[in-house]
Amino acid sequence: MSIEPRAPPRQFVARLRHALGGRAGWGGFALQILFVAALAWIGYEIVANTRANLQSLGKTFGFEFLENTAGFDVSQNLIPYSRSDTYTRVFLVGLLNTLLVAVIGIFFATVIGFVIGLGRLSPNWLLSRISGGYVELVRNLPLLFQILFWYLAVLAALPNPRQSISLFGSFFLSNRGFVIPKPIGEPGLEPFALAVVAAIIGALLLRRYARRQLFDSGRMLTIWPYVLALLIGLPLLASLIFGAPVTFEFPELKGFNFSGGSRVIPEFVALTLALSIYTAAFIAEIVRAGILAVHKGQMEAGASLGLSRGSTLRLIVVPQALRVILPPLTNQYLNLTKNSSLAVAIGYPDLFSVFAGTTLSQTGQAIEILAITMGVYLLISLVTSAIMSFYGWRISRSLGA
């Protein structure tokens, strides 16, 4: 039996086969077609059945309901809102409340997380054990439980408005929240704001100049007195010339509650507190992992240069660790934002509560409202990811990687 040399496959067909089916060839191609067909069929069934079922319930699909009057009030609104506004307005109020909790929660979670994460690596026995205990305790308790705990704990600890704890007669702390004098803009506000911006720009320029001096000629310039003078002096000067930028409306106890002033409601405090503390436990572990991922030679190198432990961490270790920390950190930020939808349990009016909750149950437009809500959470998450990716890209660039 002679062995016939196999005819080489035609180049074009081989390429096509490879492109469509990968290594599995035509078989893989057929599988992919089947898979896409199955997906398309499921999609079609979902749409067709939804339509048929909506029809049998006598319901219409559409977004006209967004223009109807909401007819209910919301306890915290960052933009003016009353019961006669539309559901669109409710949506915006809820969205802003969600974003507020997310942004402030992310800030505190990051700060606490870094402190605990670094604390866990500290050579100080007590500090590292306390940090370890924090992480183990907090991350192993359900979040909803923690939110309720903080809410009821905060409420239980605080007196009623008539016995509220008062600071200087103008700050009041009670179970209705923290009431502070409300700043009201005056004509002097604009020049004041301009002065602040100018002072910040000036300070940044100074810093840049000092750095250049340091790198170019090795001269250390002491700039902080100038920066301080700039930051305080310029706005002060502006308000002396143009008058006070703001006056304050002081809160007053009237009837059951304080009128006037601005108020931070306890629901917001409890939710932000619980989310920050909970997420910080995870961030702490991420920070610890990131720092341990940097070779310990880097720490030793820093020490041999005569840098203190703090400086070594700040200048050498953390910048390198950030590359490892950022992707999982982004995850935690997204988790925090999504977890904020637990707010409904303690009556904080976030997007999920006022829009996917109250509005949904009032209008019955479930599919539309859920689609919008999902879209918004998706958008928030994507924007967060994009910001973090951009930051990661800048770090990689500055590290020359």
Partner: protein, 338 residues
Amino acid sequence: MKRASLVFTLALAAGLSSQAATAQTLKTVKDRGMLSCGVGQGLPGFSSPDDKGNWTGIDVDVCRAIAAAIFNDASKVKFVPLSAKDRFTALQSGEIDVLSRNTTWTLSRDTSLGANFTGVTYYDGQGFMVKKSLKVNSALELNSASVCVQTGTTTEQNLADYFKSNNMKYEVIAFGTADEAVKAYESGRCDVFTTDVSGLYAERLKLANPADHAVLPEIISKEPLGPMVRHGDDQWFDIVKWVLFAMVNAEELGITRKNVDEMAKSDKPELRRVFGTEGNLGEQLGLTKDWVSRIVKAVGNYGESFDRNVGAGSKLGIARGLNQLWNKGGIQYAPPIR
């Protein structure tokens, strides 16, 4: 809360999309051998489970009566506890066959939710509860108060209307469930808790010191509470509607749990029609001839159910008031069974 609502939301998406439109609820229920009934999460008098998991209440009795009419067995009910916010979604998605959860009948709910009200089990109105120590005697003195409320209710909207039309300021804190709202009220977060008056009496029983709290005299709304079914199945709509009418008619005719067998032997034409010894009214509904006696044997007539759950025979001790029969000074009225 969020978990639960997510489940129902997903159930809705799945329910609306997966099952082909079914208009045969009765057949589905019979095939399943069980009625799936949406009820409250623990409102004494209306729907609350005891420590052994037995549900009682006037809303629960409606579920049991329907099960009795279909299966001749009032225990064939699966109770699904729902928050105010999730109840309609659960009904729309097919998770439950009937919603019997102190739900107020309004025009918008009758139209936009894809569901129908089948009647009124309890004529209620919204009121306010405050701590006696506040020394408030009227709802009109509540300017600048903080109010705890359950979200997704007509209560939430009436509240906004009432304070607006009386030019009063207030702060609303809306919670996912009644329990959370009451807990916040009790902890002092709010000055006022508001819901239907029957609900106020029921929730007050659960507070640490019920005597420290007072229900204000103002009734600020009409709250006719009744069961709901999905659009698109007229037979099922008729069954649920007439089960309640049968309970009211039974009270009017003096048929009680005790005398139902006696009465069934009567030769009065009216009673013969009701008990199915004459005609086939029950079968026209898709039930059996003895449907009314099944219902009365299971839960009693409307008056018996009322007394046992919310009235004189219960802890709540609410007077019949509007819920008395039409010929005894109330407005409970059922079309005739003929």
